[in-house]
């Protein structure tokens, strides 16, 4: 099986979030980036498990600049065989999906694995768009995937239960929690990643379909107010006048 795993970078969850350019751009200054957890923990690790069980090849694909190379090397250290980075500064979902789809058309894969969303913009769009552009089936929010020949049985968590879907290759999935258990690279993997191929390709022609006008931060959390259990009047007054909940 040839598996393409699409990875994106995301700010570490402890990062301080700030914006520049009239609140239209994320301020990356001092931010530490990681592999988007859904891409790493679930999409990549499940792909590696499939390769380890039945052979094949796992290729990492990233759309971005050279500053993404550290997260690509980490994916290689965890066990992917090779990597491709498409040199592009786009952040628009459709434009990213077009880059991935164009590359995938020219380099055949049996399966394309993405994470269910990035933990920064939470768009959940790219994987579905890639499938549409490739005209292949798409299964979102996959929490389990087993393979028999060219047929995959995939579980999806849905409201109140689980949906089981069957699909044949080629297809695209977006991976969610449950697909695999996160792996920590070892030193041999880190050393091997030094020499694994990372090919940089120029961007394919595409145009942004959307443009971010502004970001705003949620209001700061206010401190808890404690009301004495016997003081119902004050509680009602606070809920009515301050919280405006009743």
């Amino acid at each position: 099986m040839k598996i393409l795993v699409c990875i994106s970078k995301a700010p570490d969850t402890t990062s301080k979030i700030a914006f520049t350019d009239n609140n239209s751009k994320f301020d990356e200054n001092g931010v530490q980036f990681i592999v988007n957890p859904y891409d790493e923990w679930y999409a990549l690790v499940r792909a590696l498990e499939i390769k380890e069980a039945g052979g094949g090849n796992v290729t990492i694909l990233n759309v971005g600049g050279a500053d993404n190379d550290p997260i690509i090397r980490k994916a290689l250290a965890i066990g992917a065989d090779d990597a491709v980075r498409i040199e592009s500064s786009t952040e628009d979902a459709l434009s990213v999906a077009k880059q991935i789809a164009e590359y995938t058309k020219q380099n055949t894969f049996d399966m394309v694995f993405c994470g269910k969303e990035t933990i920064d913009y939470n768009g959940s769009q790219v994987a579905g768009m890639v499938a549409e552009l490739l005209n292949v089936p798409f299964v979102s929010l996959a929490s389990k995937l087993s393979l028999s020949g060219n047929t995959a049985t995939i579980e999806r968590e849905i409201e109140g239960g689980v949906e089981v879907v069957e699909v044949t290759t080629p297809f695209v999935i977006s991976a969610a929690k449950g697909m695999a258990e996160a792996r920590i690279p070892n030193m041999r993997g880190i050393m091997a990643a030094r020499t694994k191929p990372l090919t940089v390709l120029p961007a394919y022609s595409s145009q942004n379909a959307t443009k971010v006008k502004a970001f705003t931060l949620p209001p700061a959390k206010s401190a808890c107010k404690f009301v004495d259990a016997s003081n119902v009047e004050e509680l009602v007054s606070l809920l009515h006048n301050e919280a405006k909940a009743i």
Binding site: P70, A77, I184, P185, M187, R188, I190, R194
Partner: protein
């Protein structure tokens, strides 16, 4: 123990001095520690047991001989990577770092540097995977700061050496498969010998009731007419400089490790002081708490810079023993002081196993003494700058 919420301070953006691979190595060890060691370390320290189940994982993340070349089973990393691994291990517990330090710098290093090819091929790959655990015998009951006075000795019996003597305060001794032992030959010259568990007359009684490094095992090495094959003598270096070369490597790792312990204490104290309220406000808003925290981060930042520079010098093969002494002494002292201040910020909670502070503090009381005491390292610096030795005298005035 509470959840490991550690976040590393980097006040001077020192990450910019590291390569991406250095950072990946550090994050890898940190993630492994948080997943595999932090949840159990307090329990094992309280029980005074070494968590043997971490050995395989410790090997996987480069804890055993990070700088040993790949041809001998090591990952072949540089000295800054070694330092970062020690920092992350000691961030969790000095005992875990000690196990790793001893295996790396005091067992694998001398076999790699002073051993022959057969010895390297025989022992290093198994030490790198943790299949073999090693220990290092230099200190004796009556010879600590003055190892050159050792009485452990060996005689050439023709087809083997006959080893007699005893070593004390030996990390890993009770669980070790091999020991690198320093002993004098009949001419009084110090040589290294590899002694294997199972050799007749070789025993490793455990040292009990320690208040420090409780999650690592310590013991003695007793040699009662032990027949050591001649093939087990390290042939490529002899004299006191041989074990001191190993100590240079280990002390360098300790200098990094101590920063880890200090960072953990600072990080915990900073978080606690912002969460803990007295007089209606977080205790972090009080001047005396801020003084403690500000001095902690200042000292950590200075130690980070010192150690990073020492790592660059080590990579270039230019670091002197005296420079390593300065870093070991400064950083362990810094960490110990920070642990004590952090304990105060945590109030009574600081003495419980809910927080790592008291464990770090007790551990560091060993670290400030082993691998050259705090005072001896000061005298090494003193000797280096004056050219005069203050820690040797002929005893005639007493």
């Amino acid at each position: 123990m509470a959840e490991d919420r550690f976040q590393a301070p980097d006040y001077y953006n020192l990450d910019e001095l590291l390569t991406e691979e250095h950072k990946l190595i550090r994050e890898t060890v940190r993630a492994w520690v948080k997943k595999e060691v932090s949840p159990i370390i307090e329990e094992y320290a309280q029980k005074a047991q070494f968590p043997k189940q971490i050995i395989a994982g410790l090997a996987e993340v480069g804890g055993f001989g990070p700088y040993i070349p790949t041809e001998y089973g090591g990952p072949g990393l540089d000295q800054i990577s070694y330092g970062l691994i020690m920092q992350e291990l000691e961030r969790c517990d000095s005992g875990v770092r000690s196990t790793s330090s001893v295996q790396s710098s005091l067992v694998m290093y001398p076999i790699w540097k002073y051993g022959n090819e057969e010895q390297r091929k025989k022992y290093l790959p198994k030490l790198a995977t943790g299949e073999f655990i090693g220990c290092f015998g230099l200190t004796e009951p009556d010879h600590g700061s003055n190892p050159g006075g050792m009485i452990t000795n060996f005689k050439d019996m023709g087809d083997h050496y006959l080893l007699n003597g005893a070593k004390m305060w030996i990390t890993n001794a009770p669980i070790a498969d091999i020991a690198v032992v320093w002993a004098k030959n009949e001419q009084g010259r110090i040589h290294g010998l590899i002694v294997e568990r199972g050799m007749e007359g070789f025993t490793t009684p455990e040292t009990h009731d320690k208040w420090s490094l409780r999650a690592s095992v310590t013991g003695e090495l007793v040699f009662d007419n032990v027949k050591v094959p001649k093939a087990n003598l390290l042939p490529n270096k002899s004299g006191l400089g041989a074990p001191l070369g190993c100590l240079d490597s280990a002390r360098y790792g300790i200098a990094w490790g101590a920063i880890g312990a200090a960072m953990d204490c600072y990080d915990s104290a900073l978080r606690y002081s912002k969460e803990r309220k007295q007089f209606g406000v977080p205790i972090a808003s009080f001047q005396l708490t801020q003084k403690k925290l500000a001095e902690m981060i200042t000292e950590i930042t200075k130690a980070q810079l010192l150690t990073w520079r020492l790592g660059v010098l080590r990579n270039e093969g230019k670091a002197t023993s005296a420079q390593i002494s300065m870093a070991k002494r400064n950083n362990v002292d810094m960490a110990l002081k920070i642990a004590r201040e952090a304990r105060q910020i945590h109030g009574a909670m600081g003495i419980t196993g809910e927080y790592s502070i008291m464990r770090h503090m007790a551990n560091l009381e060993s670290v400030v003494t082993y691998e050259g005491t705090h005072d001896i390292h000061l005298l090494i610096t003193g000797m280096d700058v004056t050219g005069l030795s203050a820690f040797k005298n002929d005893g005639t005035q007493f």
